[in-house]
Amino acid sequence: MKEAFAGTLESGDILVRIAPAENKGLEIDLESTVAYQFGRQIKTVITETLTGLGINDAKVTATDKGALDCTIRARVTAAAVRATGKDVWKD
């Protein structure tokens, strides 16, 4: 795994950075404009998306601007594909 990004800082989007894990497990560092009401939910979506792709160890840094769950899933998947080189859409 190498460091990779997906997404933007536009309103309604999320910028996701995935990097090799420093410790075991998923470490998620989230900054969100809707953190109070949706922080928990955003972290759950990121975790579920990554584990669904078989990624259990990674450092994730996400800057959210109010993205919906579908957007979060898409950005996390794209970042994971870039980070691992494994194209989940093709394979």
Partner: protein
Amino acid sequence: MTMNNIIAQRAALVEQAAAQMGKNIYNGTREKDQTARTENQKEGASSKVCTLEEAIRKSGLKDGMTISFHHHFRAGDKVVNLVVDKLAEMGFKNLHLAASSLQDVHKPLIEHIKNGVITEISTSGLRGELANEISRGLMEKPVVFRSHGGRGSAIANGDLHIDVAFLGASSCDAAGNACGFSRSENAKSICGSLGYALPDARYADKVVILTDDLVQYPNTPNAISEHDVDFVVEVESVGDSSKIASGAIRDTKNPRDILLAKQAAKVIINSGYFKNGFSIQTGSGGASLAAVKYIRESMIEQGIKASFALGGITAHMVKMHEEGLIDRLIDVQSFDKVAAESLMNDPMHKEVSASEYASADTPGSATHYLDIVILSALEVDVNFNVNVLVGSDGIIRGAVGGHPDTAADSALSIIVCPLLRGRIPCVVDEVTTLITPGATVDVVVTEYGIAVNPNRPEIAERLKAAGLKLVTLEQLRDHALKVIGQPDPLPFGDKVVGVVMNRDGSVMDVIKNIKE
């Protein structure tokens, strides 16, 4: 009788009359002042023209007293920071700052609150870093929020007593005749109407006018009369006029706002109130300001003219007035430079005080004659209650403004808001903070449909007949939740950081601090 006797008898009668009236007898010794009167208007010669520091000293301001300001320069205001910096420098403490509203630009007040210079605030709104800090519990005493009409009432009835008002004006003469524009060639600023400053000028114990254009007497026509003014202070700048039309009152290019504006226009046209001689107001917020553009065409097509447009007056309103579509403009606040210049040049463009605009207890206030108002919202709940003050993140980020005043007094109040702002729902179960009670709200327009208050079945019928899609607020709320998921509750603390007053002077709601 000899001549001498006649004179003596008259003198005796004068003496007798004076004695009966308890007055002195004229002694005829007063000398003529030969100074050219223009000399008398200069600083030092006029009894009113002085420096800010002298004005503060002479005003008798003491620790613990109430000072007031207007917000006609909005984000361009320079008076609040200038005066409070000076008060801090002079060592004042525990002052109550009663502004008609506060903006992002008033961030320096944070330091003055921390240092104990300002310990109480009354305002219509708070924005930016100051709002952020106060929402987190910066102040010991809660900020008191009033509507514009409510503030007018509170000042008039003594609920909000002002000791010294510091009022910025774009022109003022040495006697204190002031207004929100200047006709001199040295004009530096223009804000148009001084409506929110007029209750302060009338009722404050002492009034200090700050001006960046000290003009020759007499400054006419004037908004504030010399009768109400104690001191006149010339300053470099009272405000940056180019920053008035910013923030909540910018012209929108957002396609969703334009869609909402078009829908609101359809509601108006089919509401039953769109008749010759109707009156209209638009609140701040892109969609409500833009709605007026879209009723213009129907007015021309159907030959309908408005008797007056009220409130924050914009360039769009001025244009329609000049086209003959709106007969009169009643202006408590000029929302842009075009409106300010129209107020200066057009006698049909009338300036009103906050009380004459929207006070519940002023029988002649203009809102009582208002047919239609279009307003924006941060949140609407399923009971039609509206919040325009506290964001869905629990942070204060807006202003009460004239929202509850116009909603209550108008024949038809229309709220325009999107269903979602990013991931934040605008139609909710219960508003974070109650600003405008649902009983006064008639129609809610969103991009996913229009909801009509069940109290107004006749309006629902008219809109349905016109082919508009009606939904319930419950349906809109559910639709929002389906898209965004169920939000977690906000982490409010136990400290009350704000108190919301109803326009009748009763306490309507409180705002609690938000925890980190």
